[in-house]
């Protein structure tokens, strides 16, 4: 077991696979945060969306499913991550950014900077995606998303699943203290050309 507590913010596409894989690598404690419920349009890419979970809170569905898959303690918070509950970050070891918009991502980074927590970022768009580790003091996402316009291209399940796996692989490095191996790297996925590429942040 990995005796750590990991906070997963967003339990949709990325968050669903991230929670699954964190459980499978043996993380002992997970905190899941998402105020959303499953709807039918989630079924093309969100792991726990199914006919029998439509209308149910994503975080709560994930909690009950993960408890069947590993000896993991899971806490589900069926709220969106805001100023009112940002203190959740203070008591965890690592934060996973699995949300679906730039504004919330930048807020998560701000809170992680405040509490000096490492953040593992993932984002997807169409057949593309990226993942990286954001260290306190570096304001990585604030710099990368500066001036960026919100895009809304349909994303397929294999892009989501691969980027989520990249996030968990990065988290595994961080949780085992191998931060040097992932520092300053931005990992890009391109299913249009079937490439995964590392560039220097």
């Amino acid at each position: 077991m990995i005796d750590k507590t990991v906070l997963v913010i967003g339990c949709g596409g990325l968050g669903g696979f991230v929670g699954e894989e964190l459980t499978r690598i043996g993380v002992k404690n997970l905190v899941l945060v998402d105020g959303d419920v499953f709807v039918e349009s989630n079924m093309n890419r969100q792991l726990e969306s199914a006919f029998d979970t439509l209308g149910q809170f994503k975080a709560e569905v994930m909690r009950s499913r993960l408890m069947q898959k590993g000896r993991v303690n899971v806490t589900a918070k069926t709220v969106f991550f805001t100023e009112e509950n940002e203190n959740i970050v203070a008591s965890v070891d690592l934060v996973m950014d699995c949300v679906d918009n730039v504004k919330t991502r930048l807020f998560i980074e701000k809170v992680c900077e405040k509490h000096k927590k490492i953040l593992v970022h993932g984002g997807v768009e169409g057949s593309y995606g990226q993942a990286c580790v954001c260290f306190p003091g570096e304001k990585t996402l604030t710099k990368l998303y500066a001036g960026a316009e919100e895009q809304k291209h349909a994303t397929n399940v294999y892009t989501v699943a691969t980027v989520a796996s990249m996030q968990v692989a990065l988290a595994d490095k961080v949780l085992s203290g191998k931060t040097e191996e992932v520092k300053n790297g931005l990992f890009l996925l391109d299913y249009d050309s079937f490439e995964i590429k590392k560039v220097t942040l």
């Binding site: 918009n101 990226q130 291209h153």
Partner: protein, 81 residues
């Protein structure tokens, strides 16, 4: 000539994977892309630029000089989850 590779929404929006350009700075790349795709230069400032896999943030930003054979990556980060 420098090779300019488009990634993510930059590729989706402009429907090109890669173009070859004559440019001596990253700023010139932005200007030539703007002219090629008929969009204002400011539209290209929403992307992140890497020269030979290094963020221009770590180099000289848009004044980063380019030489023949350099590869410029134009990256638009995915925001979905």
């Amino acid at each position: 000539m420098v090779t300019v590779k488009l990634f993510g929404a930059a590729r989706i929006n402009f429907k090109d994977k890669q173009v070859e350009l004559e440019a001596s700075t990253v700023k010139e790349v932005l200007e030539k892309l703007a002219a090629k795709y008929g969009a204002p230069v400011k539209d290209f400032k929403q992307f992140v630029y890497f020269v030979n896999d290094v963020n221009i943030d770590k180099l000289k930003m848009y004044k980063t000089p380019l030489s023949d054979g350099d590869v410029v990556m134009v990256i638009s980060l995915g925001s979905g989850g």
